[in-house]
C-alpha cells in the first residue's frame, strides 16, 4: 500500500477552480480527477478556455484550487503556506515555459544556479552544479552568455537545465515548443523523452499540438473544465484526428 502511495506523484481529486471578478463568477474547472504515477509522460490538451493552463498552474502550485484536493509527492498542498508552496516548487517541480522565462540580466549559469541558491546552497557550489546541468543539456560552453545571446532552442535548453537543477521528480512544461521551429521542437521533445526514459523524470506538458503530444505516453484532453479523455496518447490522438494520428504512428 505504501509503495503504491509512493508511486503516485500527483493525486488530484474533485479539483474545481472558480475566478471571482466582482460579482461575476467564472468556473474554469468543474471537478477534475487526475492521478499521475512516477515516471509517467503525460500530455494535457484542450482548446483555449478548456482550463488546461489553469490546471497546469494548480499542478505547479503557482495557484491554488478553489475546491477538491491536491496531494503532490505525498504532501497535501491545500494546507500549505505561501513559503511552503515556494519550497515545494523549488524541490519537487521543474518548470519549462513557452517563453523560456529566463532572467535576462543574469548569465546562463546564474539562471540555472538560481533555484539552488533559493534552496539554500552556497554560491560556489550552486554555480558548479549549474555548470554540470548545462553540460547535460549540451550547453556547457555558453554558461557565461546572457539569454539574449542564445537562440530560442538554446534558451529552452537552459530553462530545462534550470528546471532540473534541484533534481525534482517532475517537470511541468507549458507549451514548451510554442515559440520554436519544428526542428528545434523535435530536439526539445526528444530531450524530454530522454529525460523521462533515462532519469525517470515524470513529465506533464500542456500543448495544443498533436505532434508534441505524440511524444507522450498518456494523453489527457480537457473540454470546458472537464476531463474528456484520459488514456494512451496514440488512442487519444486517433480519436482527435484519425488521419493525423495515422501519419504519426
Amino acid at each position: 500500500m505504501s509503495t503504491q502511495l509512493n508511486q503516485t506523484l500527483i493525486d488530484i481529486r474533485g479539483v474545481t477552480k472558480t475566478y471571482f471578478s466582482g460579482s461575476v463568477e467564472t468556473r474554469v474547472l468543474h471537478g477534475i480527477d487526475l492521478q499521475v504515477t512516477r515516471g509517467d509522460f503525460v500530455s494535457i490538451m484542450g482548446q483555449s478556455g478548456s482550463g488546461k493552463s489553469t490546471l497546469m498552474n494548480i499542478l505547479g502550485c503557482l495557484d491554488q484550487a478553489t475546491g477538491g484536493s491536491y496531494v503532490l509527492d505525498g504532501v497535501d498542498t491545500r494546507s500549505l503556506s505561501r513559503a511552503q508552496l515556494a519550497d515545494i516548487r523549488n524541490r519537487s517541480i521543474g518548470f519549462v515555459f513557452q517563453s523560456f522565462n529566463l532572467i535576462k540580466r543574469m548569465s546562463v549559469a546564474e539562471n540555472v544556479a538560481l533555484p539552488l541558491i533559493y534552496a539554500g546552497m552556497g554560491r560556489g557550489k550552486a554555480h558548479a552544479r549549474a555548470l554540470q546541468e548545462l553540460e547535460r543539456v549540451g550547453l556547457g560552453g555558453l554558461a557565461k552568455r546572457t539569454p539574449s545571446q542564445l537562440s530560442g532552442g538554446q534558451q529552452q535548453r537552459v530553462a530545462i537545465a534550470r528546471a532540473l537543477a534541484t533534481d525534482p521528480p517532475m517537470l511541468l512544461a507549458d507549451e514548451p515548443t510554442g515559440n520554436l521551429d519544428t526542428q528545434t521542437s523535435d530536439d526539445i521533445m526528444n530531450s524530454f523523452r530522454q529525460l523521462n526514459a533515462e532519469r525517470g523524470i515524470t513529465i506533464v506538458l500542456v500543448t495544443h499540438e498533436a505532434d508534441v503530444a505524440a511524444y507522450s505516453r498518456r494523453l489527457v484532453r480537457l473540454k470546458d473544465g472537464r476531463v474528456l479523455y484520459d488514456g494512451p496518447s496514440v488512442e487519444g490522438l486517433r480519436q482527435l484526428n484519425p488521419h493525423h494520428a495515422e501519419v504519426l504512428a
Partner: protein, 407 residues
Amino acid sequence: MNFIQVLIESFRSMAANRLRTALTMLGIIIGIASVVLLLAIGDSMQRFIGKELQQLGTNMVYVFPGGDRTTAQRARAGSVPSLSTMDAAALNALPSLTGAAPALQGSFKLSAGNESSNSQVHGVTPAMFKIRNWKLDQGNLFSEADVRASSRMVVIGQKVADQFFYKSDPLGRYIRIENVAFQVIGVLAGEGKQIDGSDIAELVLVPITAASANLIKMPFPQNVHYIAAQGRPDMSLKEAEEDIKETLRVRHRIRIDSPDDFKVQNMASFAETANKISAGVALLLGMIGAISLLVGGIGIMNIMLVSVTERTREIGIRMAIGARPGAVLLQFLAESVVICVAGGLVGVLIAMAGAAAITATGKFDVFLTFQGVLVACGFASAVGVFFGFYPARRASRLLPVDCLRYE
C-alpha cells in the same frame, strides 16, 4: 538565500538600471548631505555662540547682600547687609570658581578741567580684572599693594578718557571724584555692552579701599556691595552657585531653617535663553535637511514601486523556481537600503566638502562629528528600510500565477 547573495543581487539590479539608480541615489545624496551639513552648521553655530557668550561672561555669578527679605524683616532679625571682603576671600578659594572679587559701587560726580559728569564708580581689586576679563589698552592696573594702601588711582574706559582728556594722553592726569583727586593709571581696551548691561568704555574703576575711604561709607569697613565670581568653564554654574550658598550660610551662621541673608544671581539664564535660541535654529536647520531627506525617501519609494511593476514577471519567475515571499521582500528591501546607504556615504562626503568650504571662508568653523556621520548612515538605512518596505512587501505579496501572466 544568504545575505551576501542578496547584496550581490541588489548591486546587479542597480547596475542594470544605472541612470535610474543614479537619479534615485541623488535624492538621498542631497537629503543626507543637507541633513549632515545643516546639523553640523547648527552644532558649530551653537558652539560658536556658546564661546562668544562665555567671553561676554555668562559664567559669572553675582552675590548681593540681603536675600529676599525686606529691610524690615532684616532689621527684626538683627542682621545687617552682610557681605564682606572676607566672604569674597572665602569664595575665591572655592574649587568650583576660578575666582571671586568684592566690589563697591556708587554714582558720583566726576570732573577734570572744565568737564564734569555723573558716573558709576566701582571700587574693585585686581582680581576683578581677571574675573571680568577686562584688558588694558594703555597704562597699568592698580596692584594689591595699591589696594592695601588705599591709593587714589583710577582706571577708566575709552569713552571716559575721550570725554575728559580728548585727544591727549590721560595717563598721569587727574580726575576728581566728588572733589577727591584720583590719578589715571590705565585705560581699558574695547567697548560694548557687557553681560550686566554696563559698557566697558564707560567704566570708572578705583581700588576698593580707596572707594570706601573716600567715597562710599559702609556700616562696617569690610562691607561690600556685591561679590562677582566666575564659575569654572568645565563645571556647571549651578554647582558653583550651590557651593557659594553653602559657604556663605556657614560663614554667616545661618540656621538650617532660616532663609539666606544674601542673594545669588547668575548670568546663566541669559545664556540659557541664547542657547535655546541657537538650539532652535539648529533644530530648524536639521528639519530643513530632514525634509529634503524625506523627499529623497519618497523618490526611493516611487522608483521601487515602478521597479516592482516593471519586474513583475521576474518576480513570478523567481517565485516559480522557489523564491519564498520573504526572499522577494528581502531582495527589494536590500535594493532600497543599498541605494540609501551608498547615497548616504556620498552625501556625507559632500557634506564634508561643504563644511570645509564654509570653514575656508573664515566666518566660522564647521566640523562634522563622527557621531553625526554615524547618525546620518543610520538615518540613510532607516530611510531605505522605511521607504523600501512598502514596495518590497507589495512584491512579496504578488501571486506567482499573476506575475507569470504579466506582460
